[in-house]
């Protein structure tokens, strides 16, 4: 297998190229820019199957994808931060319309003030929009999961957002095992979904409907989304057969006897994984899939290992409540008999996760109650 030294952004672009995407519409924003530029360079060299459209805004990028996917084309876009926020209306429209669009969001703080660091609040604030969300911990995961997402999105007819941290992943060069073009294409295959706009066939797509119709659509979408962890597993079985790697929606690395676990998504999970040997008595629960939230899987891990404390690494904060991941974890553990203490380590603003912070967080649990917020800046 050929290893290439590439950045997270380049890994994403390579996967898009290998998925045989027919239309890419995008608008540049730091730190996503390298994805756009890499795809444009593929087009310039005649190495992109589809066309690259430089539109005048993120809103139009996703709108352009909407038109093309409605006609049955495989499409892709990428953005970050304010760009994702600007797409918000179209993001919701995509899932309502059941358009299997794949988008990469490279995490970056949403202002004010202007901040470039990778707060996850941009993508997490879109959690209720009906998109699948998968968080990647390194460039290899970015390549593999972007490639897999086209299969996942088209099988479930749900738009899929692949998320990774700005700079820590987007701009860091890592050796990535990039399968041959032919093998990748074989894995993804041609688009499997039925075009909604079929010339010659009358159809009134997404026109005015009743609340009752919408309830049925929401229910169907919800039920279909709940199939995602199993579908993801099945896709990864096939991926593993071809490429010798696989991923789960939620993955636990709990050493024997450990009663504390860090729950992390994105590059923070990679950081914890690297430092686990120094964090005695601690394990890692890596959250890849955030929507749908793998609640049963999390509860099973907690019960199986009889975990007493979860330290949730939230490089984000829902003001007035705390980290998104902590909220979701607490809700998921409601039905567990022996609920662990939930300690919310908030690194909002996208601050760096150091081994010192991890060690302090591991040592110092909440003084009272079942939950508490620890602010990352206080632990350095």
């Amino acid at each position: 297998m050929p290893y290439e030294l590439i950045s997270g952004c380049q890994a994403a672009a390579l996967a898009v190229q290998r998925a045989g995407v027919e239309l890419v519409a995008a608008y540049p924003i730091t730190p996503q820019t390298a994805i756009v530029e890499t795809l444009a360079s593929f087009e310039a060299r005649g190495e992109l199957k589809g066309e690259f459209v430089s539109v005048e805004s993120e809103y139009s990028a996703l709108s352009c994808c909407n038109g093309a996917v409605a006609a049955g084309a495989r499409v892709f876009t990428a953005t970050s931060s304010h760009g994702l926020a600007y797409m918000h209306e179209m993001i919701q429209w995509c899932s309502g319309a059941r358009f299997p669009i794949v988008m990469v969001n490279v995490n970056r703080t949403v202002g004010a003030p202007w901040v470039l660091d990778p707060d996850q609040g941009d993508s997490l604030s879109q959690r209720d929009t009906g998109w699948l969300q998968i968080y990647c911990a390194n460039a290899q995961e970015v390549f593999d999961i972007v490639l897999q997402s086209f299969v996942l999105a088209e099988e479930l007819l749900l738009p899929t957002m692949v998320v990774f941290d700005g700079f820590y992943i987007s701009h860091t060069y890592e050796p990535v095992d990039v399968p041959e073009l032919e093998q990748s294409c074989e894995f993804v295959g041609p688009p499997k979904f039925k075009p909604q706009v079929a010339p010659g066939e009358q159809a009134n797509l997404h026109g005015l409907s009743s609340g009752e119709t919408q309830l049925q659509l929401v229910r169907k979408r919800h039920e279909d989304m709940l199939k995602a962890p199993a579908t993801f597993s099945a896709i990864n079985e096939k991926f593993n057969r071809l490429f010798g790697r696989s991923y789960e929606a939620l993955e636990a690395v709990i050493p024997d006897g450990a009663r504390t676990a860090f729950l992390a998504a994105g590059s923070t999970a990679e950081t914890v994984r690297w430092f686990l040997p120094e964090l005695k008595g601690c394990g890692l629960i890596q959250l890849r899939m955030f929507r749908p939230f793998p609640a049963e899987e999390l509860a099973r891990v907690v019960e199986k290992h009889d975990l007493e404390r979860l330290v949730i690494i939230d490089r984000n904060c829902s003001t007035g409540t705390g980290g998104y991941f902590a909220q979701e974890a607490k809700a998921a553990l409601y039905g567990v008999d022996r609920r662990p203490v939930v300690q919310d380590l908030v690194l909002a603003g996208g601050i760096d996760l150091t081994v010192d912070i991890l060690a302090h967080a591991a040592e110092k649990g909440p003084e009272s109650g079942l939950t508490a917020i620890q602010w990352g800046v206080d632990l350095r």
């Binding site: 589809g50 005048e56 909407n66 084309a73 209306e89 009358q202 005015l208």
Partner: protein
Amino acid sequence: MKVTGYSMENEMMYSGHNACPGCGGALTVRYLTRALGPNLALAITASCWSIIAGAPPLTALKCPILHCPFPSAGAVGGGLRRGLNAKGHYDTTVVVLAGDGGTFDIGLQALSGAAQRNEDYIFICYDNEAYMNTGMQTSSATPFGARTSTRPYPLFKHGQKKDIMRIMAAHGIPYAATASLAFPQDMENKLRKAQEMKGFRFMHVLSPCPPGWGTESSDTIHLSRLAVSTNFYPLFEIIGGNKWRMTYYPEKTRTPLKEYLEAQRRFRQVDETTIEALQEEVDHDWEGLLKRVGTSPEETQEAPEK
């Protein structure tokens, strides 16, 4: 004027749609789908047509309709064209339909982007001069002097109507034209001409709205004709952004604008001084248009193109 080749079989629009009686927007789409059909795909942005098209699975048209959010139409149209091309449907004509809000206001950015990229489709703006679907709120296409629900009596709209045709011309697009429901043959000719071209094509259709304008449903065609004969709404086309051509010159003694204004209750609060000012504005715009066309009425008193 001779109307030729008319047959009900060419109709793409069903009766039983959800438009108000006398709706100019409904007639616009009936004309355009008949001229451009049957191999059509329509993207419709938030507008009266979001309602007129009917509740799925019912539909008002015999072609695919893709509804899309308000500001998105310009970009969705480009995506739809490119997606259809990717699937080999090169012969399908893509039309984006937007109201004046989706063109002049919230849709302007995506429209401008699509025009600048020379996206290969036809953008139709049916202009009823306010947000009529939500009950006649002011838009930047509302003419000076009109009362709306956000400029209620005795207030009225101040500020000029945005000159969308000059904005579109400035993009240097292959084709742009105005069309009137009172001149269906002229409209059909322009649509057919546009259909034979490639790249971004734009058509603006003044579409009277009886409840919004305060007119009888039977007056829609009469008003459309008055708008042209008063020079309030001239009929012309622009090739390549710089070649302006009048497609119809009104009678030499033009109808006073006052007649057009007095036929609509939305203008009832304007006084004589304002009417005079509006007349001057129409005259001024007409002079400007004549300069851009660069010919006199006598020179181009030809019949519209076949």
